[in-house]
């Protein structure tokens, strides 16, 4: 199996001197292409910090982070931006859609930064919205959409660039259980049928149950890695 993400001895320290807080204390961690990984742990265990570093939104204090063989820890901010633009889709707990901007335009945005033509943007964005089942809502702004729909727009935005990996930081954290199951089924489908690797942070075991690999974090260290059977699509 291809190694997509390779993390060795990763540490992240916030602040300096006596107030310094060590969020990650030497994490070793791999993600294979096509895997669906759930990162679990109590709050403060370092899982979100880890996620931000994986998403190239933040940089490690020490250690090695290889993404598709690139030594990301040596990248400049702009190089990391280009990496995000090309290979990584990020889904946030708080959706982070642009306000007053239609679903379609939100989804088009990454393509715009890639310099795609107007027609290509429209086509790509509509295709991404179709994958999350929101073609009918393309012209609605975030305030006109439910939380679940907003998160699906965010997922469509992450998918539109056809990324290698989808990073999701508590994607169901702001949703009720029914919407959460919808989102998880959407992610599972994308992973299984679309071949997109997914790394998802969650503290809910129900959500982690959709993943094939569960990585447990505690106090800035990886406590355990569990391989599971792929979950059959069941909905009691």
């Amino acid at each position: 199996m291809t190694r997509l993400i390779e993390v060795r001895g990763l540490t992240k320290v916030f602040g300096t001197g006596p107030n310094a807080f060590k969020a990650l204390c030497g994490v070793d961690f791999d993600v294979n292409a096509g895997d669906f990984v759930a990162v679990m742990g109590a709050s403060g265990s370092g899982k979100s910090t880890m996620m931000n570093i994986l998403g190239c939104l933040d940089v490690p204090t020490e250690g090695v982070y290889r993404f598709m063989g690139h030594a990301v820890e040596r990248f400049t901010q702009d190089q990391r931006a280009l990496l995000r633009r090309r290979y990584i889709g990020f889904v946030f707990q708080g959706f982070n859609l642009l306000a007053r901007t239609s679903a379609l335009e939100n989804v088009e945005l990454p393509l715009l930064y890639r310099g795609e033509s107007r027609a290509a943007r429209r086509k790509g964005a509509m295709a991404a919205l179709e994958r999350v089942g929101l073609t009918d809502w393309a012209d609605h702004t975030p305030s006109e959409l439910s939380g679940g729909q907003q998160q699906r727009v965010a997922i469509a935005r992450a998918l539109v660039t056809e990324p290698q990996v989808l990073l999701a930081d508590e994607p169901t954290g702001n949703l009720d259980s029914e919407r959460s199951i919808e989102i998880m089924e959407l992610l599972t489908g994308l992973n299984r049928d679309g071949g997109i690797s997914i790394v998802m942070v969650t503290h809910e075991p129900d959500m982690a149950a959709y993943a094939r690999t569960i990585v447990r974090f505690k106090d800035g260290l990886v406590l355990a890695v569990e391989q599971r059977e792929a979950r059959v699509n069941v909905r009691n």
Binding site: D58, V59, D78, A81, L82, L98, R100, L112
Partner: protein, 401 residues
């Protein structure tokens, strides 16, 4: 990359109409108030300067007595033609000397009559007072020496007696004399000091003395000073000469007064200079206030938009692209605001100048300055907070509330 940022900037401006409007409004008000104020100030200054120059520069008016107010006991001795000759021959640096005697009379033509001032003088008077003929001619030598019944009338007299018909060659009645009109003066209009030059009938000195006043007195003497000479020194020389001729001993007060138009125009020029400086200062203050307004809106909107910047960075925008977008937004809004401000000030200046009767001036230098200053503030304060926000790492920008 520029195309992308331009597209995004225009989208954001259209999407946030209220915010765009408020930003633009700050710039509109800043530019419009400054340009309007300075233009009106310049108009006022120009108007005062025109009035001063219409006086006839460097003119001295010699009158018997002290000023207008102090009549007191005895009537002051008037001048005579010998005084005029003495000034003309003994004082250096004067262009012309014009004796004048005047009285009020009713001018009658057919059924029309008009009360006006009738003055007797010489052709030098027109030179000294900067008066020009609209039609006809000045007095001839023969008319002056013989004291012929001819006259030159001001524009007010012409309009009131003749309306639009030709006045030249017609005869006026003044008291019991009939007086042929040989010239009409150009309208001088409002402004100028002393008697209204438009409302008068001018005739040869001799005619006025013989037929109207009945004496040889000269009531006032106008002296036009050569530009190259100092009018103050000439005032002193004339004063010394007249004191001697009027047998005033040392310690006695002058029984005549000399009014120097140069002094008056200097005072007025000083006043208008002060006025212009004052308006300039007010304009500068309002420009700064306008600038602070623009600055506030820009700062607030960028703070509000830190999350937006975070989102853009998180989905793969490079910092340069985000900055370029904000810069283009700021430039677009500032320029649109500046242009609207210029149009508003142009309209306002025209309307106000027309309303209060000032000459219309539009200061393009100040317009350009105000435009660029506002644009500069808009751009600086649109750009630097955005630069700070874009230099945050995306996670911090996203957490910003």
């Amino acid at each position: 990359m520029f195309g992308t940022s331009l597209l995004l900037a225009l989208k954001e401006i259209r999407r946030h109409k209220m915010r765009s409007f408020l930003t633009t409004l700050g710039i509109i008000i800043g530019v419009a108030s400054v340009v309007t104020m300075v233009s009106l100030g310049n108009g006022a200054t120009q108007s005062v300067q025109e009035q001063v120059s219409s006086l006839g520069s460097n003119m001295l008016m010699v009158r018997p007595g002290q000023g207008y107010g102090r009549g007191g006991g005895s009537r002051p001795t008037l001048f005579d033609l010998d005084d005029v000759d003495a000034i003309r021959t003994q004082i250096a640096g004067i262009r012309v000397v014009a004796p004048q005697t005047s009285t009020s009379a009713t001018a009658i033509f057919e059924a029309q009559n008009w009360s006006t001032t009738v003055s007797g003088t010489t052709n030098e008077y027109f030179q000294a007072s900067n008066l020009e003929l609209a039609d006809g001619r000045l007095f001839s030598e023969a008319e002056l020496t013989a004291g012929k019944s001819v006259c030159i009338i001001g524009d007010t007299v012409r309009t009131n007696l003749f309306r639009n018909t030709n006045a030249l060659g017609k005869s006026l009645r003044l008291r019991d004399i009939s007086c042929k009109i040989i010239g009409v003066l150009t309208k001088r209009g409002q402004g100028g000091f002393g008697p209204d030059a438009d409302d008068q009938v001018v005739m040869p000195l001799k005619t006025a003395m013989r037929r109207l006043t009945g004496n040889q007195d000269v009531q006032s003497i106008q002296v036009a000073v050569d530009q190259q000479f100092d009018s103050g020194a000439i005032v002193n020389e004339i004063s010394a000469l007249l004191r001697e001729r009027r047998h005033l001993r040392d310690g006695m007060e002058d029984d005549f007064s000399i009014f120097d138009s140069k002094q008056l125009s200097d005072t007025l020029s000083g006043t208008t200079r002060t006025l212009t400086m004052f308006l300039g200062a007010v304009a500068a203050v309002s420009l700064v206030v306008g600038g602070i307004g623009i600055m506030n809106i820009m700062l607030v909107s960028v703070t509000e938009r830190t999350r937006e910047i975070g989102i853009r960075l998180a989905i793969g925008a490079v910092r340069r692209e985000v900055l370029m977008q904000f810069l283009i937004e700021a430039i677009t809004l500032s320029s649109i605001g500046g242009l609207i401000g210029l149009v508003v000030s142009f309209v306002a200046t025209t309307a106000i100048a027309f309303g209060v009767g000032l000459p219309f001036t539009f200061d393009f230098g100040v317009a350009a300055l105000a435009f660029f200053f506002s644009a500069l503030i808009g751009i600086l304060f649109g750009y630097f907070p955005a630069k700070r926000a874009a230099s945050l790492n995306p996670i911090e920008a996203l957490r910003h509330e």
